[in-house]
């Protein structure tokens, strides 16, 4: 079973609304990541964190923001949702010195903005 949890699994929301996608992990991993996944496209890194109070933007420009106040929690926020934000968002984590063993992924949040 997953040790990294994302909520909600599915979200349909109107344009202009503020939303927060939750991601929590119980493994004590220091590194956490947010990816955007569109059908037929590679996963794009939008944010990552190497620990508490550390956040960085990834390759893909995103209007979202993240925070890392606690090791286990890495929420992603969209201040004003737009239809272009419709996508699947995947959260992942890796342990200290262990990213070379691969990431652990959550089940994803499929966001639809109408």
């Amino acid at each position: 079973e997953a040790d990294i949890y994302q909520t909600p699994r599915y979200l349909v929301i109107g344009t202009g609304k503020k939303i927060t996608l939750e991601c929590s992990q119980t493994m004590g991993h220091d590194k956490m990541y947010w990816y955007q996944q569109d059908p037929g496209m590679e996963l794009h890194l939008i944010h990552y964190s190497y620990g508490v109070n550390s956040t960085e933007k990834g390759d893909l420009s995103s209007e979202s923001t993240v925070s890392r106040i606690r090791t286990e929690h890495f929420p992603l926020t969209l201040e004003s949702a737009r239809p272009s934000h419709t996508s699947q968002y995947l959260c992942a984590s890796s342990p200290p010195g262990g990213a070379n063993y691969g990431y652990t992924f959550g089940s994803g949040t499929r966001l639809t903005v109408v």
Partner: protein, 114 residues
């Protein structure tokens, strides 16, 4: 920048047969890691197999094995004795040795037919 290419958007295979998924990558790094991830429909992405570029021996995990050709920058996944539960999206990924910047291909959708 490193790129990962999966040239087969979709593939199918009969149950119990063998299938090979292709992956090529582009990098100037000499040491790195390669991964295959499996994402079943509406489920969590999980690591299938990993390969360290400085090891010549191809990795094997039960019915899953890779053909790693470093000079050709090729990293294919072979699934033997395909099972219905192997139906999923398969993503190839690359990560340099000294950072956690994992790059993904666009994925191959594999369907195992009864």
């Amino acid at each position: 920048a490193q790129t990962v290419t999966q040239s087969q958007p979709e593939m199918s295979v009969q149950e119990a047969e063998t299938v090979t998924l292709s992956c090529t990558y582009d990098t100037s790094e000499n040491n790195y890691y390669l991964f295959w991830y499996k994402q079943p429909p509406s489920r969590q992405m999980i690591l299938v197999i990993r390969q360290e570029a400085y090891k010549q021996q191809n990795a094997t995990e039960n019915r899953f094995s890779v053909n790693f050709q470093k000079a050709a920058k090729s990293f294919s996944l072979k699934i033997s004795d395909s099972q219905l539960g192997d139906t999923a999206m398969y993503f190839c990924a690359f990560m340099p040795l000294n950072n956690n910047d994992m790059r993904f291909g666009a994925g191959t959708r594999l369907t195992v037919k009864p």
